[in-house]
């Protein structure tokens, strides 16, 4: 189960990252660093899904290159920590990607149902 979970995760990484960052916080727009994102995914799925650094950072840098994320590097305890936040364009992309994905899930669900259930009467 683990391996196919990871397989599905690969295609939805951008959607997940954009969505996590799109959640509002009391202090304003959300900003997260890489490790925080992997922890958030791990905690919310109760350990079902784990995001490896090998998968996460290429996606983060790609989204930054596409102008969907802004970065801010801060020194924390002698290390450089890079925070990511959504740009206005990134916000729109998050909404768009989520609705696309929900449509996709509905389509897959109707594909997975046995044909008998679909026939009326």
């Amino acid at each position: 189960m683990e391996s196919s979970g990871q397989e599905f995760l690969r295609g939805t990484l951008k959607t997940i990252v954009l969505n996590l960052l799109a959640e509002p916080t009391p202090t304003g727009p959300r900003r997260m660093y890489g490790y925080e994102i992997t922890q958030a995914v791990h905690d919310r799925t109760r350990g079902d899904l784990t995001l490896s650094f090998g998968a996460l950072y290429p996606v983060l840098h790609k989204l930054e290159q596409d102008g969907l994320l802004l970065t801010d590097t801060v020194e924390v305890e002698g290390r450089l920590r890079k925070y990511y936040a959504l740009t206005p364009q990134g916000n729109q992309a998050a909404i768009q990607k989520t609705s696309d994905f929900e449509r996709f899930v509905r389509s897959v669900r109707s594909l997975l149902q046995s044909p008998g259930e679909l026939l009326p009467g």
Binding site: Y35, G54, Y57, H61, T73, L80
Partner: protein
Amino acid sequence: MEKLNDGQVATLRRHLLKTGTSDALIDELIDHLACEVEHYVWIGLPFDKALETVTDQATHTAVKHLRERYQVELTMSDEQLQKASLDDIVFQFRNKAYGAYDLRQSYRLTMRNAIIMAVSFCLMLVAILDGLNRKEWSYVSLTGLAWILGVAGMTYAGVSWYLARVREQQFSV
């Protein structure tokens, strides 16, 4: 939560450098792995054991996989490729700060200036030798013309080289 000290962070950096992590990612990965080590230390592992667990994850294969994925994800789009020079393509995932990129960028200008200087120098030399031979000097002659062209070429190449250097220093500051 227990924080890693500078020496422990340096150990992580050495490990990542050894596995061939690219410059674009190293600082972020250090922070990432340091957070993981801190997490393991927090749940009760001794530092050495925590470090071992984390470095076992960040092996050559994992880092190589990361580098490959990175290059696939961040490669130039067709539109960017249309505009990119050969140097841009060659240096896309290489260290531009090292100096080779700058040398290649300024190669044409350096070459042009060097050729102008060499030709000008020869013209001036010929003019001087010719003048010494004849023991007389006139600007309104073939020798005079060669001298003037030589001085002009030298000045042009010199000024152009100087301006390029000034521009370079402005960028690097």
